[in-house]
């Protein structure tokens, strides 16, 4: 066993593969930031809201007001530096920190693909992505043609986990046997030309999409790994992601996954792409040619980097299963829902009316949520228990500060899940102002009247 591990760790792979991923990742991120900025979302999502929902344990992350633009600027510039491979190590650390900080400001905007970006950039900190075709290599006048194979495999494993876990999450009765939520979502695309009024409305098509989506997610990592199926698999990747792009507002994610999947190809292709880039776009070509000390030895790696990467993957493999220790239906309580590659799995909506009560006089009034939350925040809050609790505390503090006495906060809330009729969500007799956030099960979530079978 130990021998096999040592043997595996000694295996080498072309640095070009990792360089390709680095360049693709950097450019995609840089473009994502520009896109986000140009859509005015920095303003509407981070500056306009007077209140932000925090991740448990990250309440200390403050919004920066107008300086949020600086944060995005730093993030965008570091992404570009990653693509260039210039002061790479610093750039990737800065990118990871700034991007993650942005995400931690408000969990309202949580998306699986933002989480993917965060952890992928974290992983890249420990990988020598700048040894080849980078300005760092130009500066050092030295590049390594080979890096340890596990460096490349780490990226492949991460992509594989994203797909495979997303596939596992689809193994539930709503997705497979009710074609939910696609049965709600697809018919609403009636204004897509040709397909809109035909395929999108067909019951069988909803099932085909549900099942093929599940099979795609479960199989694609393996189809990409095996040489024989790789080309077909990549075509599938492109079709699948472009199709989801057409149907759903999922921003840059499809492109990130398509570009990311290129790493599964043979190094010969990566080298070809880099040679092409070098010929066409490389303003540093002459300098590049001066990098003569192309070495055939494998770039040595630090043990500590290897340990970090192993630790990282242990976490990634185990963390999505944490929902198993919570009672109740995961889709209902969402305890352990996030950070687990549950992508587009449910259609959930709710309303939450907060009631502020004076415990002594029993006088009460209701809160107009739009006084404190943006429409997006209100929408997200209304069906997620941890949001509801945090908001209840915010309201409690707010009205106590305003001079109200003996403040209690109750919520009357209803949630509808995957087309079922809405039902009461939170126990309205529980004073949420007295409840504390923790990783423990929230007993004040009412139980779900239905059963969803599966993983």
């Amino acid at each position: 066993m130990k021998k096999q591990i040592t043997k595996y760790l000694d295996k080498k792979a072309s640095s070009a593969s990792l360089a390709i991923f680095r360049i693709g990742f950097g450019l995609m991120m840089c473009f994502s930031i520009i896109r986000f900025w140009s859509k005015g979302w920095i303003e509407t999502l981070y500056i306009t809201p007077t209140f932000h929902f925090k991740y448990f344990g990250f309440e200390w992350v403050k919004d920066l007001g107008e300086y949020t633009y600086m944060l995005f600027l730093i993030c965008g510039v570091s992404a570009f530096l990653i693509a260039l491979g210039y002061v790479y190590r610093a750039a990737i650390v800065v990118f990871f920190l700034s991007f993650t900080y942005i995400e931690l400001i408000d969990k309202t905007t949580y998306l699986n693909h933002y989480y993917f970006v965060s952890i992928a950039s974290f992983l890249l900190i420990f990988l020598p992505a700048n040894t080849y075709f980078s300005l760092d290599a130009v500066k050092r006048k030295k590049e390594y043609l080979y890096i340890p194979k596990w460096n490349i495999d780490a990226i492949k494993l991460l992509l594989g986990i994203v797909y495979f876990y997303a596939g596992l999450a689809k193994l539930n009765s709503d997705w497979l046997f009710k074609a939910m939520p696609l049965k709600i979502w697809l018919p609403s695309k009636y204004d897509i030309p040709i397909l809109g009024t035909t395929l999108m409305q067909e019951n069988w098509f909803h099932y085909v999409m549900s099942w093929s989506g599940m099979l795609y997610d479960l199989c694609i990592p393996f189809l990409l790994l095996y040489k024989k199926t790789r080309n077909v698999a990549f075509i599938l990747v492109v079709i699948f992601h472009l199709f989801t792009r057409l149907l759903f507002p999922i921003g840059m994610f499809p492109y990130i996954m398509i570009v990311g999947s290129i790493i599964f190809f043979d190094a010969s292709l990566h080298i070809k792409i880099l040679n092409y880039l070098s010929k066409t776009f490389n303003p540093f070509k002459q300098k590049w040619d001066l990098v003569t000390k192309k070495q055939t030895v494998v770039k040595p790696f630090k043990k500590s980097a290897l340990y970090m990467v192993v630790l990282f993957f242990v976490f990634q493999l185990v963390f999505p299963w944490r929902y198993l220790v919570y009672p109740g239906e995961l889709f209902w309580t969402e305890e352990g829902y996030r950070f687990s590659w549950r992508v587009m799995l449910m259609e959930k909506m709710g309303v939450a009316n907060f009631k502020i009560v004076d415990a002594k006089t029993k006088k009460f009034f209701y809160v107009d949520n739009s006084d404190f939350l943006t429409p997006l925040q209100e929408k997200q809050m209304a069906f997620q228990p941890d949001f509801i609790l945090e908001y209840a505390h915010f309201l409690g503090n707010h009205f106590t500060k305003q001079g109200h006495k003996n403040v209690q906060v109750f919520v009357d809330s209803y949630v509808a899940l995957n087309g079922r009729l809405s039902q009461p969500f939170i126990d309205k007799t529980v004073d949420l102002y007295q409840e504390k956030e923790s990783f423990k099960h929230k007993k004040w979530i009412l139980s779900f009247n239905h059963e969803i079978k599966g993983l």
């Binding site: 998306l111 049965k183 979502w185 204004d191 019951n203 189809l223 994610f253 587009m344 509808a416």
Partner: protein, 364 residues
Amino acid sequence: MIKKLFLLAIVFLVYACSSSTDDSSGGGDNDNFDREAVLINVADNIVIPALEDLSQKLVTLKADKDAFVATPDQTNLDALRSSWLSAYEVWQYVEMFNIGKAEEILYSFQMNIYPVSVADVEDNINSGSYDLTHVNNNDAVGFPTVDYLLYGIAADDDAILVKYEDVKYLNYLSDVINQMDTLTDEVLNDWTTSYRATFIASTSNTASSAYNKLVNDFIFYYEKGLRANKIGTPAGNFSTDPLPDRVEAFYNNEISKTLALEALTAVEDFFNGKAYNGTAIGESYATHLESLDNSALQALINTQFNGAREKINELDNSFSNQISVDNTKMTEAYDALQLNVVAIKVDMLQAFNVSVDYVDADGD
């Protein structure tokens, strides 16, 4: 391996399709619903007839006002009050359609913002120069201001008539009513000349399409214009203590219930596609829900409308009296209205799966 997987998949697929027909609760399987038919019904049988009626009522109001300005006596005051009330009732059928020209010129903000700002009204009257369309004057124009001018400027009718010996009061009354008439004609004209065509063609599932905006307008009006403004806010549901002076038509003080019931009829009829003039039923959200195999929700919403109507019927004609006598009846009426906020805002919206107009961000 792969082949086996696909084979397995197909077997499951056949099983899934054959076994799932009986348990599709909500979220139907066909949405080739004719949205244009709904929009045509709404435009031709609901919005435009209601606006035409309002326009006529405002013409009468204007004529009675002119008579009163010529001869400010009790007879003319009574006539003026009665035509104000008729117009106010019709207004309840118009307020929710904050779309097209109405949205552009902030029509409803210039017609029915209450409570009226007495200070602003009196300042305008005294200064004699004002821009009634200015946003700062939204609470010094429209039906609530006429309410104040006809019932509230002095303690009793004799004293009110004395006030109108001052021509400044007559001028302001006249200007406010003329403005209401002008705005209404502007909105109505836009509907009959150009907007109807734009409206009925705009059926796509985008944030800016008429179909989706109408859903949002309906929900917003039900939640805010009806539930909160007419009942919840005066009953103190959003404040520590009740605010009886926030009721609609506060100075008249005996028609807040009439107006609330008219508004409830308006939303109910709109939901069911019932024509403004008469009893004809056309395509509507109710039929849209039926086409999605969701008649249960449609029935639930109508039951809850009836429940709310029963609760409102129990109230005093004057909500401000009701609040001081027994406010729990008011909060009960509010709770009854709240039930349909859930059914409409959560269940109906999920069934329609419309793109809501306020959320602009990526999803995943």
